[in-house]
């Protein structure tokens, strides 16, 4: 209720700015916070996909049979936006093949399969206790080679984000909100490894020299907030003065990048833009801890903290697990009791359902949720929209979700875009409150997908049209040039002929006859080129000409059938001209024969 917020005079309150909408689903975080972060035992086999980040696929740089060491690069970054993949443990590469990976569309992707040798022997490491003395380029290169990506969910290569133009960036937003229900990976990380997190902040601060560093965290994580405050005290004075821990109210989706920036600064990231446009960088706490490990310890991103939760698991909690571990093995370790109805990677609001448990864990796997039917019931069949407007009240992007759904249903893409479909962050708040249980987000995803596809198709068609027209113009030009050359030759020949004719004009009668013939021929050429004078032609010659003309007609007709609309008229004329010529020749042939 905006009126209430207005009455509370929220804008004047220090610390945070209210964003519109949002919901309060049961947070279900306690069950996975009972135990400290566990270490998952080494497995016999790891499957490392080459697409664990946004951007170009990494390219495998090992071959089957190779011995690899822990932390060794096994797939290299390809292109500007990309990240390498590392061996999660030492062992032998046993296969490089396409395997299913965690992806909303059940994608299969090249995976490097490693049979572990159980030794977990590291490649030579070079920790940098003296990291503050290193250059920006060195730090960035180290980050790039460590394969660090955004661990909040999007998996954008961190080194690429940190390579941004430094001049105008003055604020670092540290995202520790973790608003999604069930997930506690960030909370567990903060409460146990706050010093590492602050090291990461220091590294990034070295790159940018921020004016202020805002750490956002929801008020339902008192233990993590305490750890943050304790860690802050250990920071050097100059840095500590620029750091602010901002406790924000618990309201989903406060941890969305755009929402958190609004909460902490009262500013909006422009539509289609990035936080950089406001001079801000936003990093997840897990990412920053990984940055510290990579730069200071020379420990590339080969493991992450994942929350195992849901009532189907007897052992719920957070676990540090190597990338490429089979999800099956994790669930078995957590005491999965029966075959689950659903397996969700990520949280209940924005996670996606996996269609099989045998997939590898990847850099983006912040949570594995195995709920029982009682816990998260399957939604009942959707009823028609009653336009109650609850969705609009909770939309953090101030969209009109129900209007968007109508437009998506009636395939009015232009109206959907006009109503800012692409500003939808797919947080699912609208679908959560919908009393008709309409899968709204699914409509938006489908609409976005269709619009993208149609735009791509349109562009392709446009390119094809331009290509066709260019080809047509080239052919016409070639034909024109050919014709010009032919005429040139004909003229030259004529000139030669008339010269020689003049030379022998008065010599003999046959010559004058020839001149007559040439004259006749010239008049013929000045007329339609294909209807040469026929007076002197034999029936055989006429027959040959007729065959030739028919041949040409057949070709022209075939061309007409394939012709683009804009060329059709010209082709039509050619065909009818040829038809006339054929009629004429036929008549002459008849005459010649009789």
């Amino acid at each position: 209720m905006n009126l209430m917020r207005l009455l509370r005079g929220q804008a004047a309150e220090p610390g945070w700015f209210d964003f519109p909408g949002g919901i309060h689903p049961p947070d279900n975080k306690a069950q996975s916070l009972q135990t400290p972060i566990a270490e998952f035992p080494l497995q016999a086999q790891y499957v490392v996909p080459v697409n664990q980040h946004i951007g170009a696929l990494a390219v495998p740089c090992v071959t089957v049979g190779d011995q690899v060491l822990t932390g060794q690069i096994i797939a290299e970054a390809a292109g500007f936006i990309s990240a390498p993949a590392h061996a999660p443990t030492s062992g032998t590469v046993t296969a490089i093949e396409d395997r299913p990976v965690p992806h909303p569309s059940g994608l299969t992707v090249t995976c490097i399969v490693i049979q572990a040798d159980g030794q977990d022997t590291w490649r030579p490491r070079a920790p940098w206790p003296d990291w503050p003395a290193r250059s920006h380029a060195d730090l960035l290169q180290r980050l790039q080679e460590a394969g660090v990506t955004g661990l909040g969910g999007a998996s954008f290569p961190t080194a690429v984000k940190l390579a941004a133009d430094r001049a105008h960036i003055d604020t670092l937003v540290v995202n520790g909100a973790e608003c999604e229900p069930y997930i506690t990976a960030d909370q567990a990380l903060i409460r146990e490894r706050a010093p590492t997190l602050y090291r990461g902040i220091e590294v990034v601060h070295k790159l940018y020299d921020f004016q202020r560093i805002l750490i956002g965290i929801e008020d339902n994580k008192p233990d993590a907030i305490a750890a943050l405050h304790a860690g802050l005290q250990a920071l050097p004075e100059t840095l500590r003065q620029r750091c602010e821990i901002r406790v924000v109210p618990t309201r989903y989706p406060s941890g969305g990048e755009r929402q958190l920036i609004w909460l902490l600064t009262g500013r909006e990231v422009p539509s289609g833009g990035l936080p950089m446009d406001l001079g801000m960088l936003c990093h997840n706490v897990g990412t920053l801890a990984a940055v510290a490990d990579a730069v200071i310890e020379d420990r590339p991103l080969i493991s992450r903290i994942t929350t195992l939760t849901g009532d189907h698991l007897r052992r719920q909690g957070n676990i540090e697990v190597r990338l490429g571990t089979s999800i099956d093995a994790l669930l078995a370790w957590a005491g999965l009791d029966t075959a689950p109805e659903r397996l969700i990677m990520g949280g209940p609001m924005m996670g996606f359902a996996l269609n099989e448990p045998g997939l590898p864990l990847v850099k983006a796997t912040n949570c594995l949720l195995v709920p029982t039917e009682q816990e998260l019931p399957t939604p009942p069949p959707a009823k028609p929209c009653i336009r109650c407007g609850h969705c609009e009240q909770v939309c953090p992007a101030s969209l009109l979700p129900q209007q968007l759904m109508w437009f998506a249903q009636s395939r009015e893409w232009d109206k959907a875009e006009q109503h800012r479909l692409f500003d939808c962050i797919e947080c699912g708040a609208c679908a959560y409150v919908c009393p008709s249980h309409i899968p709204l987000v699914q409509y938006y995803r489908a609409a976005k997908g269709t619009i993208h596809r149609e735009k791509a198709e349109h562009q392709q068609a446009e390119r094809a049209r331009i290509r066709f027209e260019a080809r047509q113009a080239r052919l016409e030009q070639e034909a024109a040039e050919k014709e010009a050359r032919r005429q040139q030759r004909a003229q030259a020949a004529k000139a030669r002929q008339s010269e020689s004719a003049t030379a022998v004009d008065k010599a003999s009668d046959p010559v004058s006859e020839a001149v007559e013939r040439a004259k006749a021929k010239r008049t013929g050429e000045q007329g339609t080129p294909n209807t040469a004078p026929t007076a002197n032609l034999s029936a055989e010659q006429l027959q040959a000409r007729l065959d030739q003309q028919r041949d040409r007609l057949a070709k022209a007709e075939a061309k007409l059938a394939d012709a683009a609309p804009e060329h059709r008229k010209a082709m039509q004329m050619t065909v009818s001209k040829l038809q006339q010529q054929i009629q004429k020749t036929e008549a002459q042939l008849q005459k010649a024969e009789s």
């Binding site: 422009p270 109805e341 009109l400 409150v433 009393p435």
Partner: protein, 342 residues
């Protein structure tokens, strides 16, 4: 394993619950109606609701839609219920029946059923009745219990409703009267406000006669709905504010214009503002749109009551603004996060 699109969890509110909560919020006002004006309201409600359910079931069958799935959503019950609250309590039995039929068959299902009706079905039903049967719709209001020589029982009310005017002429005359809005309007035209105020309907302070109580209880129900977030505050606040503002502006001429308290607490203002105008299907969607939509209703209520032929105007005001809702929506799309300010 089940693979579905996110989110994988649903909130606690369903369509049935929305309908049920709205229905529940009308109950205090409904109880007051029965307390002050007799059992006719209950009979009306039962007639309207049962007619609506039967009509909905038949239409769903004709439209080959799942019958129980839609019948149990509670929307037909609520439509008929709201209609019955607006009908004169001693109207003949066929009034609620025809009204409910018009609402469900014409206003709801001919436009595509739940969620697709451009007009508020209950108000369509009411308007059909008011235009078609003006006598039955204006003269059968119950005499407030405090004014009637003897309180009428459920049996008596049923007799009037089902047996009709001709059988119990005297009883009906002793039991029915026009509404305060009607009385005020008719009588000020003949005399002056001062004289009208002497009418027992006003002079005794109408706390006795119930209208004020009914309205205040509707207000209470509406506030509960806003608190529960079933409805947003925008529409009712806009309706009441615009109506009150106009009533204040014109309050200098008491002989010509009704006083503000009568506007706000007389007639169907509170019922309309909290339960009719907030019907989401036929109203504007954005918050700003709802403010405009509600303000339009408030203005139209005032205009029709003051310069129109009908003593009350909620139904027509709501229906007219239903027409305008798509246009309002077109011009009131809120600025999205990150969208350039224009």
């Amino acid at each position: 394993m089940l693979v579905a699109s996110s989110p994988h969890t649903i909130g606690p509110v369903s369509v049935q619950q929305v309908m049920f909560r709205v229905w529940l919020a009308t109950l205090p006002g409904f109880a007051a109606l029965i307390w002050f004006f007799g059992w006719g309201y209950l009979i009306n409600a039962l007639l309207a609701v049962s007619t609506a359910l039967v009509a909905e079931a038949i239409i769903l069958r004709l439209r080959r839609r799942p019958i129980l799935f839609f019948l149990t959503d509670g929307s037909a019950v609520l439509t008929a219920w709201l209609l019955a609250l607006a009908l004169p309590p001693l109207a003949p039995w066929w009034i609620p029946v025809i009204g409910a039929l018009a609402a469900i068959v014409f206003a709801k299902h001919l436009y595509g059923g739940l969620g697709n009706n451009p007009f508020n079905p209950a108000m369509v039903g009411y308007a059909v009745l008011l235009v078609s049967f003006p006598v039955e719709m204006t003269t059968r209001w119950g005499m407030p219990a405090a004014l009637a020589s003897e309180a009428h029982s459920l049996a008596e009310a049923a007799q009037v409703i089902f047996a009709g005017l001709r059988v119990e002429q005297t009883l009906v005359d002793g039991m029915t009267m026009a509404t305060p809005l009607d009385v005020y309007k008719t009588e000020t035209a003949l005399t002056s406000a001062a004289v009208v105020r002497e009418d027992p309907l006003f002079s005794a302070g109408w706390r006795l006669y119930g209208w004020e109580w009914v309205s205040l209880l509707y207000l209470l129900g509406g506030v509960v709905l806003i608190w529960q977030r079933v409805i947003s505050w925008h529409t009712p606040v806009a309706v009441l504010a615009s109506l009150a503002l106009l009533a204040l502006v014109f309050s200098w001429a008491g002989d010509q214009y009704m006083p503000i308290d009568l506007h706000l607490l007389g007639g169907a203002t509170m019922l309309g503002a909290f339960f009719i105008a907030t019907d989401p299907v036929s109203s504007a969607t954005s918050n700003r749109g709802k403010l405009i939509y509600g303000a339009g209703i408030g203005v139209l209520i005032y205009v029709i009551r003051t310069w129109g032929n009908y003593p009350d105007a909620v139904a027509f005001a709501v229906l007219l603004m239903n027409f305008a809702a798509p246009l309002i929506d077109h011009y009131t799309r809120p600025r999205a996060y990150g969208e350039q300010r224009t």
